[in-house]
Amino acid sequence: MAHAALHFAAGMAVGMAVQGPLLRRTWNRGRELAPAILRWLCLSWLMGTWGIIPSLLHYAGLPDAFCNGWWMNLFLFHPLINRWGPHATIIGAVALVGSFVFQYALILAAILKTRKDNRRESVRSSGHPSLQKCSGPEECAPVSRDHSGSG
């Protein structure tokens, strides 16, 4: 099971990395963040599940020779990762917990960002003079009034 944690974490890392650039673009745009994060999470968990398929087959009773064959490298280098020493247990647990913490922290950050964007949007729509001319959330930072050179 501890090795399975490492395989799952490896899969999650691959999934997060694949979907990462798209999520970053969406984050910067500031729109449709929730579905993008859901897609990102789903892909990472799917990849994690893909990574533990040989472990599941082994758990289901298939022989070791089959579950550790070279063809199982298709499942994110499962046999190669299995060759890691006894530290794989600890590394797996830490990697899995780290991945969950990272994903959870990102969701919380997204909630905060969405709230901030919503507040700006509502201030803009209510007609605050310093926010009327911006076209997107990233451009809607409150304008500091500098009267030094304006005369």
């Binding site: 099971m1 449709e32 994060i37 999470l41 758990y59 959870y104 969701i107 919380l108 909630i111 905060l112």
Partner: protein, 122 residues
């Protein structure tokens, strides 16, 4: 793992009750405090096993035989229960379920946070 799951389950259940009482809404404070409390309580429950993980076996054995470690959420009593042959066989066979329990709690927590994100996005 079972000690950690037991420890983490207490704040998880409290959080679940609060979530139900607030009709499916979770404040940001709850979303931040709940996982922190779960990790703290889980670590507290498993604390007497940490010396073994770090290789201090003599200290671990000394702790394991001391009933006072019950302050770590009844660690001693649970260990005594687990060493009975019937329970030992059961736990050996079903140990994966404890990891599954942790994953379930983490996933449920993430689901609640994600639900809040979708609500904020509306």
């Amino acid at each position: 793992m079972n000690h950690f799951l037991w420890g983490a389950s207490i704040p998880f259940l409290v959080g679940a009750i609060l979530y139900a009482l607030r009709r499916g809404r979770a404040s940001l404070l709850l979303l931040i405090l709940m996982p922190l409390t779960m990790v703290f309580m889980g670590t507290w429950a498993v604390a007497p096993d940490i010396p073994r993980m770090l290789g201090f076996h003599a200290f671990y054995n000394q702790l394991a035989q001391d009933p006072r470690i019950n302050i770590f959420l009844w660690h001693y009593s649970i260990d005594q229960l687990e060493t009975s042959p019937a329970w030992y066989a059961f736990l050996e066979r079903e140990s994966s379920w404890f990891a599954a329990g942790i994953v379930f709690e983490a996933t449920a927590l993430m689901g609640v946070a994600l639900r809040e994100l979708f609500r904020e996005s509306k």
